[in-house]
C-alpha cells in the first residue's frame, strides 16, 4: 500500500479522534479542518481531484467559517469546559472502548482475509462529473436546490424570532 495514502488516512482518523475529545470548541474546529484537508488528500489519491477541490473550498472553507463565526458569537466560558471534563473520564468510556477494540480487530482480520484487488488508477475529471450531474441526475440537482432553499428559509426563520424576542 502506498505510503501517501496510509499517511493521509491515518491523519484523517487522528484528526477525527482529536475533534471529539477536545474540550475547547475552537481547538476542535482546528482539528476538524486538518481532518477535512487530509480527507481531501485521500480523495485526490482516489482519482477524484474535483471532489478534493470541492472538499477544501466548501467544507474546509465555507462550513468551517460558519463554525468559527458561531463560536465567536457564543463566547463560551469556563463552566462548559469543566462539565465536559467531568463527562470524559476514562472510567466511563474504558469498558466500551475495550469491547469495540476487540470488534475492530475482528473487522480488520476479516477484511484482510478477503481477496485484495487494486483499483485501476484513472482519474474522473470534472467534465465527467458535470456530464453526469446535468445529464441523468438533473432532477436531483433541482431537489438539492429545494433543500438549500429550505435550509435558508429555516435559518432565517429562527434568526428572525430571536431578534424579535429581544
Amino acid at each position: 500500500m502506498n505510503t501517501l495514502a496510509l499517511l493521509s488516512g491515518s491523519l484523517t482518523l487522528l484528526g477525527a479522534i482529536m475533534v471529539i475529545t477536545r474540550r475547547v470548541a475552537v481547538h476542535a474546529v482546528l482539528y476538524l479542518v486538518v481532518t477535512l484537508l487530509a480527507l481531501a488528500t485521500v480523495f485526490a489519491l482516489l482519482g477524484a481531484p474535483f471532489a478534493a477541490v470541492l472538499e477544501v473550498i466548501i467544507y474546509a472553507g465555507a462550513i468551517m467559517v460558519l463554525f468559527v463565526f458561531v463560536i465567536m458569537m457564543l463566547n463560551l466560558g469556563q463552566p462548559d469546559r469543566e462539565r465536559e471534563k467531568e463527562w470524559l473520564r476514562p472510567r466511563i468510556w474504558g469498558g466500551p472502548a475495550l469491547l469495540s477494540t476487540i470488534l475492530c480487530a475482528e473487522l480488520i482480520y476479516s477484511l484482510s482475509t478477503l481477496p485484495q484487488q487494486t483499483d485501476s488508477f484513472s482519474p474522473l475529471s470534472a467534465r465527467d462529473v458535470g456530464l453526469s450531474l446535468f445529464g441523468p441526475y438533473v432532477l436531483m440537482v433541482e431537489l438539492v436546490s429545494f433543500l438549500l432553499l429550505a435550509g435558508l428559509v429555516t435559518a432565517f426563520h429562527i434568526g428572525r424570532h430571536r431578534m424579535e424576542n429581544r
Binding site: N2, G9, A25, Y59, V70, L76, D119, D128, V129, V144
Partner: protein
C-alpha cells in the same frame, strides 16, 4: 499506479463513521455533536467517492456533491438553532436542556 485497495478505503470510511458516531454519543455539547455529524457525513462521502473510483463511474462524485449540499444545509440550520437556544438565556450548550423548542 494503484495507490489504495478498495478494502482499505472501506476500512477508513467505517472507522471515520464510528468515530463520528462516538462523538455524537459521548458529547453533550451541541457544537461538538454538530462537528461529529459532519465527520459522519464525510465518512459517507468518502465511501461514495471510493465506490465511484472503484467502478470508474462519475455517479459517486455526483452523490458527493449532494452530500456537500446536505452538510451545508444541516450545519446552517443546526448553528441557527444553537444561536436561538443561546439567545434565550441558556448559559451552556447542553443538548439535554434543549428539549423544548417553541419556535
Amino acid at each position: 499506479m494503484p495507490p489504495t485497495t478498495f478494502n482499505a478505503v472501506l476500512l477508513l470510511s467505517s472507522f471515520l463513521f464510528t468515530i463520528g458516531l462516538t462523538g455524537v454519543l459521548i458529547r453533550r455539547n451541541l457544537l461538538f455533536m454538530l462537528m461529529a455529524l459532519d465527520i459522519m457525513l464525510n465518512a459517507a462521502a468518502l465511501l461514495f467517492v471510493a465506490a465511484g473510483a472503484h467502478w470508474h463511474d462519475a455517479t459517486g462524485q455526483v452523490m458527493f456533491l449532494m452530500i456537500l449540499a446536505l452538510a451545508a444545509a444541516e450545519t446552517a440550520v443546526g448553528l441557527a438553532i444553537i444561536l436561538a437556544l443561546h439567545a434565550r438565556g441558556r448559559p451552556s450548550l447542553d443538548a439535554d436542556t434543549g428539549n423544548l423548542l417553541r419556535g
